[in-house]
């Protein structure tokens, strides 16, 4: 009997699975073409563009004030930080110095946004590995932040609170009080998260040693944010290129060196603590003053190229503006963190099981509109 399958007439084909664009684990309209061998993943090929709105092309016809609104719809979980990125680029280009009050408020709301985003991530990440209860715990705490936002700027998700030159309006009188309440509340809730999920033996087994990304690969793949920091690559834009009031606060950059899914998970949990500490340092010292400086109704950037990095909840967001001196950018490019982080999915998922792919994808914390733009 011929035991050598390669020599026999048996044909073997790759088994393709079409995961998405409507799939519970892809959190949006990401489509993954999986080549699998039984349960083992041989190749992951992302297919993008299901929610592409061509924000870069639209920006070429819009004024700078209008572009800020479009950025809400990129990474909608970090909408405030996206707005801030564009505003900072424009302010730097025009050499506008915004009041201290604006800087502090931007930083506080930015960190609240980061916590809200991580809460949501924590909830859906638990769901992805099968722990359905986490979702509601994460959303309970995120709800408090959304309420604070709603009171101050009227929106819960797509904030639109920043304008070039400052803020749309001043903070609500309750803002300081409610933020303090939230900080006190949330400090008791992160340990609860750990009790429910982090220490669970099944969870540890699912995450440890899964989706390993080395530091060299993290840099080469352009990873940023918690994904890169889980691999021991220190890349926090808030540390290296501080913007707004981040140069006035002290905080530790969450770093883990294991590079596996658990490390990325722990980095985000740690980041929530750091964000709380940043808020605590600033919330009592919001300086008095104007909430914006007057800008011209039609903003024209000088001729040249401008680049601004900020740290969203997902990593490094870059805004590149090429201006020819008119009221619209000649070319505007968003370097989105999710796009680079997605590119390494194939690298960390190959050789794992389908369950591992879902777990590592959850720790990449992808937001599809951020990738598609």
């Amino acid at each position: 009997m011929d035991t050598n399958i390669a020599n026999s007439n048996l044909k073997s084909e790759d088994y393709f699975i079409n995961m998405g664009p409507q799939h519970p684990a892809t959190h949006g309209v990401l489509r993954l073409l999986l080549t699998i061998d039984g349960e083992i993943i041989k190749k992951v090929e992302p297919d993008l563009g299901y929610i592409h709105r061509s924000i870069e092309k639209m920006s070429e016809r819009d004024s700078y004030q209008q572009i800020v609104h479009l950025t809400d719809r990129m990474d909608y979980l970090s909408s405030h930080i996206n707005n801030e990125a564009v505003c900072l680029t424009v302010e730097n280009a025009l050499e506008i110095e915004v009041p201290e009050r604006v800087k502090v408020i931007r930083t506080i709301i930015g960190e609240l946004t980061r916590i809200a985003s991580h809460c949501l991530w924590w909830g859906v990440m638990g769901m992805d590995v099968g722990a359905l209860t986490t979702y509601f715990y994460g959303f309970r705490d995120r709800e408090m932040i959304n309420d604070i936002f709603e009171e101050t700027c009227g929106a819960r998700l797509t904030m639109n609170y920043n304008i070039p030159g400052g803020l749309m309006f001043d903070i609500h009188p309750n803002f300081v009080k409610r933020t303090k309440e939230f900080v006190a509340h949330f400090k008791t809730k992160i340990p609860e998260y750990d009790k429910l999920l982090t220490g669970n033996v099944i969870f540890q087994k699912r995450m440890k040693g899964v989706g390993i990304l080395s530091k060299e690969d993290a840099i080469s793949f352009g990873a940023s944010g918690p994904v890169a920091r889980g691999s021991g690559y220190s890349c926090d834009v808030r540390k290296y290129y501080p913007y707004s009031a981040l140069d006035k606060v002290t905080f530790n950059e969450a770093l883990k060196t294991d590079g596996d899914s658990l490390a990325r998970y722990e980095v985000r949990i740690q980041e929530m603590w750091e964000s709380l500490s940043i808020i605590e340092q600033l919330i009592d010292n919001i300086p008095e003053g104007d909430y914006k400086v007057a800008t011209k109704a039609v903003i024209k950037l000088p001729k040249g190229e401008f680049y601004q990095k900020v740290e969203t909840a997902r990593g490094e967001l870059g805004v590149f503006i090429n201006s020819t001196g008119t009221k619209n950018p000649y070319r505007l490019k968003f370097r989105s963190p999710g796009f680079s982080n997605l590119s390494l999915l194939n690298h960390i998922a190959v050789g794992g099981k389908i369950g591992d792919l879902v777990a590592s994808m959850a720790t990449l914390d992808l937001v599809i509109p951020d990738i598609d733009r």
Partner: protein, 340 residues
């Protein structure tokens, strides 16, 4: 109770009547279990759960069932029609059959055969054929993976369920469920068998949860990996059969656990021995305590990965089970059981 019959009488009318009554009771019981799960989930998840249809939302699942009955049955063109339609019946019939042998009270038992435990183990393995058929026949890649996982999982965990019950059979010396309960009049088996019985109970609960394909062993559905797994292509009443079967299976696993480990309808320390019909409350009370335990698992644990699932069974539970049988045999042989 009027339901008590002797199978030898072979009275066809009686049998049909009992069948109808059982079907009626357990479809309602299944719906109640679904409601219970939703309420329990809500308590775990800081929300209210169903509270609109009927008082405290009690009629919610009835409304859901009505909706499912009235829904259009959709399916894929490329499906193997015969097997595709057969699969849900395999699943629901096998789980309803298993209910026949349980002694709910001393007299309330439809079918008291002398191989009761064996019958239960045998019947519960038929259900997986339905899942395999459904996954295979619906011609969907996700369903196929779900079905493959189900086959692997059920075959593996069947061993542990069987062996942990065999451990207890060593103690009872009979497979007949009514006699197993008789034996427990001198102490529930989990007390009589103490250490090996507790180990056997823990293995039984883990394996039992796995056999009903519930979280943390819900590989078969694993919605974040496979969408809906083996029943991706099912809709309407056919989906409802799968859904109901899952809950009845959960009830069955808990009922076996109650009967074999916790004295079935016996009251603790015989406090209501003079009123035999109260046994139903003790039986259901104990069963729902175990059902609640399984729901607790589901709403707090993450899901295992498929290879970890098999590692758990073949490398830990199975050897432990075999050792436990030897231990139990030693204890029975040396007369170290606890008799009250």
């Amino acid at each position: 109770m009027i339901l008590s019959i002797n199978i030898v009488e072979n009275d066809i009318f009686n049998m049909l009547l009992i069948a109808a009554i059982y079907l009626g009771i357990f479809s309602v019981a299944g719906l109640f279990l679904v409601l219970l799960e939703r309420k329990v989930a809500a308590w775990f998840q800081l929300r209210l759960g169903p509270n609109r249809v009927g008082p405290w939302g009690l009629l919610q699942t009835m409304a859901d069932a009505l909706k499912l009955v009235s829904k259009e049955l959709t399916g894929t063109i490329k499906a193997d029609k015969f097997l595709y339609n057969l699969a849900p019946y395999f699943v629901i019939i096998s789980s309803l059959m298993a209910l026949a042998v349980f002694p709910f009270t001393q007299e309330f038992q439809a079918f008291d055969i002398n191989i009761g435990i064996f019958f239960l183990i045998a019947i519960s393995s038929i259900g997986v054929i339905g899942i395999l058929l459904g996954g295979w026949a619906s011609n969907n890649k996700f369903a196929l993976i779900g079905a493959m996982r189900s086959g692997v999982q059920t075959i593996s965990y069947e061993l542990s369920v069987g062996l942990s019950l065999v451990t207890m059979v060593l103690l009872t010396g009979t497979l007949q469920l009514s006699e197993i309960i008789e034996v427990q009049k001198s102490g529930w088996l989990i007390v009589q068998g103490h250490i090996p019985a507790i180990i056997a109970f823990m293995i039984y609960m883990i394996a039992g949860t796995a056999e009903t394909n519930r979280a943390p062993f819900d590989m078969v559905e694993a919605e974040s990996e496979l969408g809906a797994g083996f029943h991706t292509e099912y809709s309407g009443m056919k989906f409802a059969y799968f859904f109901l079967a899952e809950f009845i299976n959960m009830f069955i696993i808990a009922a076996i656990g109650t009967t074999v480990f916790f004295g079935g309808w016996l009251s603790p320390f015989g406090i209501t021995e003079s009123i035999p019909w109260l046994g139903i409350f003790w039986f259901l009370g104990k069963t729902f305590a175990l059902v609640f335990l399984m729901m607790w698992f589901r709403w707090t644990f993450p899901r295992l990965r498929v290879d970890q699932l098999l590692t758990l069974e073949w490398k830990y539970l199975l050897p432990l089970n075999l050792l436990n049988i030897v231990l139990m045999a030693l204890i029975v042989w040396l007369g170290l059981t606890i008799q009250i």
